[in-house]
Amino acid sequence: MTAQTTIKPAFDAEAARAQFPILSRTVYGKPLVYLDSGASAQKPAVVLDAMRDFAQTDYSNVHRGVHFLSAAATDAYEAARRTVQKFLNAAREDEIVFTKGGTEAINLVAYSYLMPTIQPGDEIVLSVMEHHSNIVPWHFLRERCGAVLRWVDVDDDGSLDVAALDAAIGPKTKLVAITHMSNVLGTVTPLKDIVARAHAKGVPVLADGCQGAVHEIVDVQALDIDFYCLTGHKLYGPTGIGALYARRAHLKGMRPFNGGGEMIREVSRDRITYADPPARFEAGTPPIIEAAGLGVALEWLVGLDRAAVAAHEHDLIAYARQQVSQFNWLKVIGDAPGKGAILSFEADGMHAHDLATILDREGVAVRAGHHCAQVLMERFDVASTTRASFALYNNRADVDALVAGLAKAREVLHG
């Protein structure tokens, strides 16, 4: 057998940027500087075009008709599932469940996997840097089933305290639910190590990959992870679509969450049997065009040299970090080694919303607030932060615009 290497073209950030039509627009007469990709990424023309083309030529409902278009749409939908499978390197395509986003993927695990078996006093281990979508479903189990949430702290630089996580996993732990990458701090967690430690104690692990899947290369088999969640709109794809990877052994034992069409084997007046996974968890008409769009987005992303993309993003965050260090009134929150391209900060005497409003008028879109991470805000004793989050289409000029906008905000608010 001969080893095969596929040579991908070198990553050209400017060429990639040119593929995003929205990035050439202006706001308030200024060029748009989009630094809010952590909330939602823009979409390249290939994705937008493919969705329109699909709707114009191959669209119909899936898995239902015998007609030509039904087959075409089903093929596209299932091809997208295989694309997600490859993207995560899952062993089987039926380990990929389409959901409406990352939030629904996590809720599915909470309702279908954990809720049926959890007992009062059972524990769920999670970190203080989780997004609310990886907190609230577990709070439901606390409220409704008496589960106990065990919180793992982060260090002052935002690194996960892995030893503390290990120590928090005890005989009553039923799940470790942990982010792959923090949407506020940019911290990337050592998933492989976490999974190994949890599995050593027989505890499964769920990773919230809504941010992580965008910036890291994910191999669920190498990670040996149980559940991995992603969301399409942060992955340069459309809204309304996401996915749950779950091991076949888990999925087979899970009860359905939504009931409706497509998820049954047989229904009679007093009996029901369910379809095999993944159909069991995809009740009703799914977001078909969006699934196809996600497939195209992922194909596009893996067609790039992702190591080079990561290097580009790391260069941006390092440059941004260095540039803002000139402001002695600005405090960066989250400086973990190897962190992803997210810069959160607090500014002395300037509230995040005032800052974001002034930046906005300069064309610079950032997010201000608690970023759906109130537990983390409490940990760092801040009410809100300003967050600039970078994507592969950003460049150093975007960082320069951010820095100029910050200097201006200081002038407006402090004279």
Partner: protein, 147 residues
């Protein structure tokens, strides 16, 4: 600089946000209410002493949040102190019009001049809630906040 921004963050507003008037908890308030904007985390607490004559005998606030929310609260306390509740109601109505960029026919010239300082917010629809938080909280204190 951008005129809309200059309007919004004019000196009067920045001064109120840096040196808020009537700031701090009030002992013996007859009415009190908390206001919270979950979207941005702005918080204000309004304390009132409502006199038997129906006037706002005393008013104070505490809070945390953006310059606009805190300046608006400070200006409001300045304006409302000593007013009758009916007057206060009219002021609030006028203010709610002004921050949306609408006419506020019911205001006296003096009040209009004071409140127009906040009119610049109408160019920033995402921020109007910051400016109105204190006023809604005042109303809530009067109507449901008897201590």
């Amino acid at each position: 600089m951008d005129n809309a921004l200059r309007e919004l963050y004019q000196e009067v507003i920045l001064d109120h946000s840096r040196h808020p008037r009537h700031y701090g908890a009030m002992e013996g308030a007859s009415h009190k209410a908390d206001g919270y904007n979950p979207l941005c985390g702005d918080r204000v607490t309004i304390y009132l002493k409502l006199g038997d004559d129906g006037r706002v005998a005393d008013i104070a606030f505490e809070g945390k949040g953006c310059a606009i929310s805190q300046a608006s609260a400070s200006m409001m306390t300045d304006l409302l102190k000593g007013r009758t509740r009916e007057d206060a109601e009219k002021l609030m109505e006028g203010f709610l019009h002004l921050v949306k960029g609408e006419d506020a026919p019911g205001l006296s010239d003096d009040d209009r001049e004071t409140l127009e300082v906040m009119g610049g917010i109408s160019e920033f629809p995402m921020r109007v809630k910051c400016a109105t938080l204190a006023w809604h909280t005042y109303k809530n204190a009067v109507e449901e906040g008897a201590t």
